[in-house]
């Protein structure tokens, strides 16, 4: 049986990038709302 390809690095990269985008957007929404509520 052939070896499973060793491409874990890509998996980590993708999971990190996705997390950054999602959390980043959540943060952006939070901050924009705070700015709107402040005055």
């Amino acid at each position: 049986m052939q070896d499973v390809p060793q491409n874990g690095g890509y998996m980590i990269a993708a999971y990190v990038v996705a997390a950054v985008i999602i959390v980043g957007y959540a943060l952006s929404l939070y901050l924009r709302a705070r700015r709107s509520l402040r005055p």
Binding site: A14, I22, Y25, L29, R35, S36, L37, P39
Partner: protein, 231 residues
């Protein structure tokens, strides 16, 4: 503001559950033999793709109803769904090539599925740019609705192209009429992830909707909105 709080709660819960998805996908789901660990990108890529497409259809539907009913709530929803849609499109278009490189040997290929995601991204960009280019809220809503409907009508054509041009992209595993050809554990992870992304979409849209509403209130009271004050 209550809607904002509800949105934040939903998003918070969704983010926590997302951590759960991460753990389940990375640790508790079996490794696919042919593709290796990189295959696990599927559990993020596919739910994001599903919602990228659903979001644009929702933009289109809201736009169509807006032109008939002229209810500004529909316009606010469309704007919210478009912004969230482009965020998910960003997830798809980044995880896609990262998945593609180890599996197909190339970062990008003009295969029909990746290309269709790019189309959706372009539709979102156009929609959001149009909204930011029109100052008057009523005109903005009307124009955006026209574009939203056209975008929604483009989606079936984009889909047909997928089936006319068989390519590198993995053929549908889950959405086939016959039972899914993935082992049960993987199916569970996929469904879990789809559920979490659904919750994320809802939470984000509710917050973004609330943001539009806040922006309009601020403009109405003459204090100017945050940034572009886009509805």
């Amino acid at each position: 503001m209550r809607m904002l709080r509800v949105g934040r709660w939903i998003t918070g819960i969704a983010l926590l559950l997302l951590v759960g998805v991460y753990i389940r996908a990375l640790v508790f789901t079996p490794v696919e033999r042919l593709q290796g660990l990189a295959q696990k990108i599927y559990y993020l890529h596919v739910p994001a793709a599903i919602w990228t497409e659903t979001a644009i259809v929702l933009v289109g539907l809201a736009s169509a109803f807006y032109l008939f009913l002229k209810d500004p709530r529909l316009d606010r929803f469309a704007a919210a769904s478009a912004e969230v849609g482009i965020v998910f499109a960003g997830v798809v278009l980044t995880t896609g090539p990262i998945w593609g490189k180890p599996i197909w040997g190339t970062w990008w290929t003009w295969d029909a599925r990746l290309t269709s995601m790019l189309f959706l991204f372009l539709l979102y960009v156009g929609y959001l740019l149009l909204r930011s280019a029109v100052g008057d809220p009523a005109t903005r809503a009307r124009y955006a609705a026209v574009l939203g409907i056209c975008g929604m009508c483009l989606v079936p054509f984009i889909h047909f192209s997928v089936y006319l041009f068989p390519t590198l992209h993995p053929m549908p595993i889950m959405m086939k009429p016959s039972p899914p050809s993935m082992p049960g554990s993987m199916v569970v992870t996929s469904l879990f992830s789809v559920g979490v992304f659904t919750l994320l979409y809802v939470g984000f849209v509710v917050q973004r909707y609330a943001l539009s509403y806040l922006g309009e209130q601020l403009e109405a009271s003459g204090e100017g909105g945050s940034g572009k004050g886009d509805g």
